[in-house]
């Protein structure tokens, strides 16, 4: 009971971190399909559009929904970007303009597993762009490519994600202006996939730092840090693994609106996904090897501490007993009772005996290798 209440309280106070692994809150058992559930704190949509061809580019940033229909078809390619999904009316209107199924709108708005969906001559790609914010967080990115247009939607946590592509588009760098909407899909998807690598670099650095720390000074929080890295790797893996199928399908099987020329580039995307997965799995293995290493380092230190205690105790316990013996008050009247106490060199003999005894024990310990164990 109390435990449950505590659970709820904790759950409430931590809503943000939980998002990553509990991204299914919008699911309400029994609700009608296609019901759009908007988080109250979701940011309002900001629209922008770029209608471009090899020669010219028209940028509307920001854009209102009313401008969109006129723009579509005005140039070889129109890229419509929606940042923030906090307004059902706007989403529904977009659905009307682009003629989208109610379930597709639900895919855009609710959290999904990354996937590729072919709908007639259009393709919908759902991906997740990771970023590091305390732990690994991921933002859902939807890309819908049709004949002459591409619609991208994101929840808005990483507003700058597509900035490099926008700059290349506006400045006309590279071949982006001369190619179709499918190449744009590639350029954007590649940006999402590549954004995994800086995170992997951070996690790789943390693993190396952890390795150093564990080998030099294993502190109690090392395992916690290993656990955190593993948690982050799990989140990352959930975001990247399904992209493997997406990229593989895009680059290998015939998908409408994707030309063979772009397919070559998408194969590059696929290679990158494979490398990211490869690294994630390698890091996972490393992290579990590190937690073994930590436990053994700690065990090692317990050993050292125990060893010291044992040696000190083992040496002094017999000596203390001896001292206790000569502190007894046996009646010195009888000649049998503790005659040593009356010897002329009794005390020096006692001291010598102690030193000899201690030296002997240290010698035995050293031979058994129990003293050497303390040296690093």
């Amino acid at each position: 009971m109390a435990s449950k209440r505590r659970s709820r309280r904790a759950a409430k106070g931590r809503r943000e971190q939980r998002d990553e692994l509990q991204d299914f809150r919008q699911i309400q058992p029994g609700a009608a399909p296609g019901t759009l559930i908007i988080e109250p704190d979701a940011p309002a949509p900001q629209l922008s559009a770029y209608a471009y061809g090899a020669d010219a580019i028209v940028a509307r940033d920001p854009m209102t929904l009313a401008e969109l229909p006129a723009l579509l078809g005005s140039a070889p390619v129109v890229w419509v970007n929606v940042v923030g999904l906090g307004d059902v009316a706007v989403i529904q209107e977009l659905g009307r303009i682009f003629d989208l199924h109610q379930l597709t709108l639900e895919d855009l708005v609710h959290v999904q597993r990354p996937k590729l969906e072919i709908m007639g001559d259009r393709a919908l790609v759902i991906a997740r762009a990771p970023k590091l914010d305390g732990g690994v967080k991921t933002e859902q990115i939807s890309l819908l490519v049709g004949d002459g247009y591409i619609l991208t939607a994101q929840t808005g946590e990483q507003r700058g994600l597509f900035e490099p592509v926008r700059v290349r588009l506006v400045t006309g760098a590279g071949r982006i202006r001369t190619m179709g909407a499918d190449y744009m899909l590639y350029a954007l998807l590649d940006t999402v996939i590549d954004s995994t690598f800086p995170l992997l670099e951070e996690l790789g650095d943390e693993l190396e730092l952890l390795e150093d720390d564990i080998l030099q000074r294993p502190e109690p929080d090392c395992l916690h840090r290993v656990h955190k890295v593993r948690h982050d790797l799990l989140t990352l893996r959930r975001a990247v693994w399904p992209l493997r199928d997406v990229a593989s399908q895009l680059s290998r099987t015939p998908v409408p609106t994707i030309t063979d020329e772009t397919r070559v580039y998408l194969r590059d995307c696929y290679d990158n996904v494979i490398r990211a997965i490869d690294l994630i799995e390698t890091y996972r293995e490393l992290s579990s090897s590190l937690s073994d290493l930590y436990l053994s380092s700690v065990g090692q230190r317990t050993n050292e501490v125990m060893g010291l205690l044992t040696i000190v105790a083992t040496i002094f316990i017999p000596l203390t007993f001896l001292a206790g013996v000569y502190g007894m008050n046996f009646d010195r009247a009888s000649p049998w009772n503790m005659p040593e106490l009356g010897w002329r060199y009794g005390y020096p003999a006692f001291l010598v005996a102690n030193v000899v005894l201690a030296a002997l024990m240290i010698y035995v310990f050293r031979r058994r290798g129990w003293l050497g164990g303390r040296a690093p």
Copy 2:
């Protein structure tokens, strides 16, 4: 022997919790196939039926078996819902009305692994709806869809499971009234699958709470709780994994009575199953990482306790020995015997020597980092 008897007693007294993992009690080796074995305490069947089309709906709730034949065919779709399977006669009569094979009736009544069975132009879906009641419990839900009707049967532990669908049906919300029996199958199956997510939320909360507890105050019952979560995840996994094949087959391969339009919705079902499985596996990995974390936290505390013991003992054991030495009763007649006892400043010198010795040892400990280990 005694162990066996105890085993039986324990098994008896715990029949309820066992149901989840020992759901095969109805199997009697060598019994004729199709023998229906009813638990004595199974609730009696309660029938209800909804005959509906786009325009009208006739509800019979409760309904008697005699009313059923007249209802079938009276409207585009008839949904017959049976809650409670504790009466062989009723089951057999249903089998006669719907023309079911004896083995199919056995599938309805006895506990099965979730599966999809295509029987001519009909499809039978067996699923398990999980709920949290102490641990994760699952209830068997059978859905038989034919041309113009859908028959659902459940054992009756979660009577309210289909309530939201019933409300949508009666109020005419959404498109449920305008579509066929296959869409009803989707709506009900989706409800069963979605009912997994609130449980996953509970388990996810418990895992996070456990993580906090383990990092801040690792109590002896933490591992027990981890074990319980893992047990629950195993039960959930057994219920959800087989649904993957069911949903995949329903949405991808041609199944009679399932239209292409509904197939789009069933693909949504499939995505949800995949996400649930994904989460279950992720939670399983987290829980095993947590049990590592706990063991290390406990080891850490043992270390601290051991460290304190070692330091106190190591400092005082030599001092106690010294005190013991000066408590010896060597004959002071001989000038060699313990002259220190007669010195003017013997006692102060002893005290100073003690303080110096203790300070020296504390200094050594601090340098080796054994004292720092106690600080969090």
Copy 3:
């Protein structure tokens, strides 16, 4: 050397338990194929036969080999059951009557991995029926189904295995009499597969009992019991896993002499095999989770014991040192030497100091949570 000799002795004295995992003793490298090797203590064959159709049944129990040829073909189906395989002559004669390949006879007599072998229009099923006798033991059951007859052979450790089927056959219960030899194959195979579930129930009970024991009073033999359960599960798994392919092939791919009607029943068999495998894997996971739990419970107790030692020792070691100090025999002639001994309230002050010191340490321990750790 000595180790080897011991190994041999131990191996000899334990021949029976070993059978399960060393069921390959009949293999002699380089022996001609088809050589039948009979264990000296194998029971002599007991034959029985049932020639039956929908209307009539002729039972020969026991039967001599000479009666067999006349019986074959005298009724729609003849079931020949051989219990005990300890006589090469009988086996060879059976091989002649049923026209069996020498390697097939070897399959009947020697221990095999469960498998399905299609030989022309006949099918041979090798299965293993498990029973609990100390640990899990398995008995090889061979079923050869041809046109109008079924031959079953077992080594004879579970003579009552097919009794329920025999009763159904003789009393004419169910549809067994009206169907062909393939249905008989189903009925017998189903009996073998279902005989796994009572064992799984025993193992499940033992796992639950173990969980209780480990949580309440972790005794040294708990891990041994976990190990035994795991050993039993391994044996069971070796018997059941290969049956998956057997049942899948029988129910899904076209096999001669198996009619479509029986195939429906065999699919039921397949479902049961899958459930058994499912449970075995779940129990294996539970048992490994339990051994973690045990190790942690034991570690917990070590912790408690260590904690008590530490507290008692840490409190009394300084006090004992103090008492030792005031037991020293410093010459009281000098005013610097132990003036406390002469104070009027020296002894009460000493006692009070001790109590204060002890209370202080207990307070510190309680604050650090080291005393709370002992409470369950």
Copy 4:
């Protein structure tokens, strides 16, 4: 540096044991393919040949290379056996006579992973025959079967390996003389595969012995022995696993020179490989369960030892403190200073107090179950 030098020295002094896991020494990066590298200590080849048919057999044992060409084709089947591969000239001459590719000769001479290679109408099988010599050692066996001949080559460590087959051939036992070269391939391959089972029996016995030892008297070398068994199982697995594909291909896919009749026998081979693999995996699981069991048994003993120390120390530390108190030399002049020392029954009271205190502590320990823990 020093570590590397030690490594080299150790590596040198242990060349023999290493062979099993470092069987790739003959690989020289950049060397021309087909270069035959002979170990200096490889035994010289000993040739023998058997030209046989149903009626007659001509044996040449030993045989010189010059005799071989005349023998080939003189009978339905010619079996040429080469034991020892220590002479490049002989190998090259064999290659010329049998018209072998340079890479095939390399396969014969250098250590390979077991495999099946189809070369036109000939088939080359590379297998590894295991034996127990300290640890598991394996010897490479090559079998080349063509139209009317079979060539076998082995390095010579197990000269008697094919002896049972030779005896069957010479005495004409079984059907070996009446069948072709493909049946000979089966007979020899079966001998190689069956030679795995005696080893598995040894390893199984060792595992059982280990289980007894660990449960009764866990000695420090138990884990070493478990590690050794695991090492042996790894070696065995490397030898047997690839044979699965070999036997499967030979018995299932059409291979030239293998008749359907022999294929039935090869299926038996395949079953045996599967059983061997099955057992190896089962033993590997058992051995890892055993190492858990050992660690827990050792932990158990540490617990017992710790428990004893705790009880003895906890009982005597307070008593010793009491004795220390009454050994203090407080000035008895003041009536407040240790009046107990002057009581008439002071000493008996002290003794009684001690006994009561000790009894009380033992009672508490027994209630907490800490004393019961010591009983086995």
Copy 5:
């Protein structure tokens, strides 16, 4: 914060070791595809070329880029080798001469996962050649084979890698001069794959040395060394695993410019890759078995040390208590107070009692097997 800063510093100071697991630094999210990013410290390209046929060979070593066009086509095969990739202009010019896609140039220059890419009638193989330099490092090797030429590019860390092939080519040893560019591809790829085996030998030696060390004197750095080996095996595995698909595709599926004759040799390559993978996995299992062994050895030593402490303490604690008792200053005036002190043989009796008590305890310890535990 501070942790992050430390992370960055550590990351910076260790750039070299990190290369192996963070070989993706050249990826810049959002950069235009085909952008060549050259490390500032990458060595300048050194070109060499060999135009050869069966009769003649023309060597240009070193060669300037200007010489290349004339050379191509001047002989049946031209091998162009580029060592060092530190000059964008040279790479671009090579791309122009060989007509390479911008993404192919990126593949050559940036770190890739090993792969095979078929581009029209040309094939590109990306491999990684491992070497041991502290830990395992790998160098990217690209091989582009077309009609009559082969272009190889490496970053330059292992300049001598292809030396043996060059020598065979120049001296005309083997068949390398008489075969086409595809055979050259085989020869070079084989060299890269074979270079894995000396590393595996080193790692195998280290594992054996570790086994010895752990069994004889388990030092604290053993687990660190195991961790290092495991790290190296992970790196090696990442380099070798993808080669499996490359070699399999080259040897089994039809690839342009690869003749059937060369395919036979490439099958040999494939076998070697499989053996390397096999060994890597075996070593990984061994290393995890070793880390278990180490932890148990350490636990064993803790046990020994604890055992000694327990025995010494358990024997002397009661004796010390006894000595303390007879050191008490009870008033000898009362005949009840410590009459033993006045006995004639009190002291000898005390000594005898001590010896008897100690002997008794040693006897009990020996019976329980706690003393035997110390013997190795």
